[in-house]
């Protein structure tokens, strides 16, 4: 599913994460026009106010910008997008290493497992 939420974390934070992912993955292309707040809210089945707040956050991060008359656009700054992509990749790696650590594997062993899964 594209839009799914855990009710125990703020919805707007989860919206920011989702939208960020759509931009980083190229699902929302650089420079493309975003749907209106209302339409995005409908698509995600959330409150338009919450969607507005999430878009404000993305705007602060520089991932989207507003053209005064025609709405919101995804940034054309590919460097910035790849910076966020790197950040997310590192987060995922840390999460993986932490998970492996919690079941008793060292970093090296964790990496061996990674290699193994590649060969499968």
């Amino acid at each position: 599913m594209r839009w799914e939420f855990d009710n125990d974390r703020p919805i707007y934070i989860q919206l920011v994460e989702k939208l960020k992912l759509f931009i980083i993955s190229g699902q929302y292309e650089p420079g493309s026009r975003m749907l209106s707040v209302r339409d995005l809210a409908l698509e995600a089945k959330v409150n338009p106010n919450t969607m507005q707040k999430a878009l404000g956050e993305l705007e602060n991060l520089g991932l989207i910008y507003t053209k005064r008359t025609s709405g919101k656009y995804v940034t054309e700054d590919k460097k910035l997008i790849s910076k966020f992509k790197d950040e997310m990749a590192l987060e995922k790696v840390h999460a993986y290493l932490n998970d492996m650590k919690s079941i008793g594997f060292s970093k090296k062993e964790a990496m061996d497992y990674l290699k193994m899964s590649k060969e499968e």
């Binding site: 009710n7 125990d8 919805i11 707007y12 409908l42 089945k45 959330v46 106010n49």
Partner: protein, 231 residues
């Protein structure tokens, strides 16, 4: 100015005190969950705001005015129990509503009905419970109101119907209008709420921004509710 302002609202039936000193402000442009267990006073409060019950003391203002003709014009209310004549067809009901309310938009109503594949000539008493609920919601949401008050709109319907109802609410409330949804089925609706009001034994127990409450308690609104109202 708040859309609705309750000041020291008290209501009792004989010795039975139902609402105890309710102070409340409903802002514009928000979806608000009025949450509380059965018998906590949700429906009584809603009936007071709609002018169907009088307070014993305290005041309620809607757009700064006392409850009356003007407040009824701007509030679109879905009662908890069916309130329309089931011997009428959908078409007759739409005509009835559009005679009754200046701000009722028949086009919106017909458009929403089309999605349900409903024949406007069908009478309500030939329909299932879920379908009746949908029709009544459509009638209420087709008014261009400042405030929509929905008392238990998702009680007793299947999950797909619930989704349809939430969608209809999200799509059709006016810009700048507010929606009050009373329910105890919290997990189904909590992601569309801006704010919540917990009501317990006739008093306001907790109010706040839904996302802020999730952050501060690290729980869903549903879990907070279960925690606070543990029997």
């Amino acid at each position: 100015m708040a859309l609705v302002k309750c000041d020291g609202v008290c209501k009792s039936y004989g010795k039975n005190s139902i609402l105890k000193n309710i102070n409340l402000e409903i802002p514009k442009g928000k979806i608000i969950g009025l949450l509380g267990p059965n018998g906590s006073g949700k429906t009584t409060l809603i009936k007071i705001i709609n002018g169907l019950l009088e307070t014993n003391s305290g005041t309620v203002l809607v757009n700064g005015e006392k409850i009356g003709i003007n407040s009824k014009k701007v509030i679109s209310y879905l009662p908890e129990r069916p309130y329309v004549n089931f011997n009428m067809s959908v078409k007759e009901l739409i005509n009835y509503f559009s005679d009754f309310y200046d701000n009722f938009d028949s086009d919106t109503a017909y458009k929403l009905l089309e999605k349900l594949n409903l024949n406007p000539n069908d009478k309500l008493n030939t329909m299932s419970k879920g379908m009746k609920e949908k029709v009544q919601l459509i009638l209420v949401m087709s008014r261009k109101a400042d405030l929509y008050i929905l008392d238990e709109p998702i009680g007793g319907v299947d999950p797909a119907t619930r989704d349809y109802i939430l969608d209809t609410i999200l799509t059709n409330f006016n810009d700048g209008a507010s929606v009050i949804i009373s329910t105890h089925l919290i997990s189904d609706i909590e992601k569309i709420l801006d704010e919540v009001i917990f009501i317990k034994e006739g008093s306001i127990y907790l109010t706040g921004d839904a996302d802020e409450l999730r952050t501060s308690k690290g729980m869903s609104i549903d879990e907070i509710f279960r925690e606070e109202f543990k029997c």
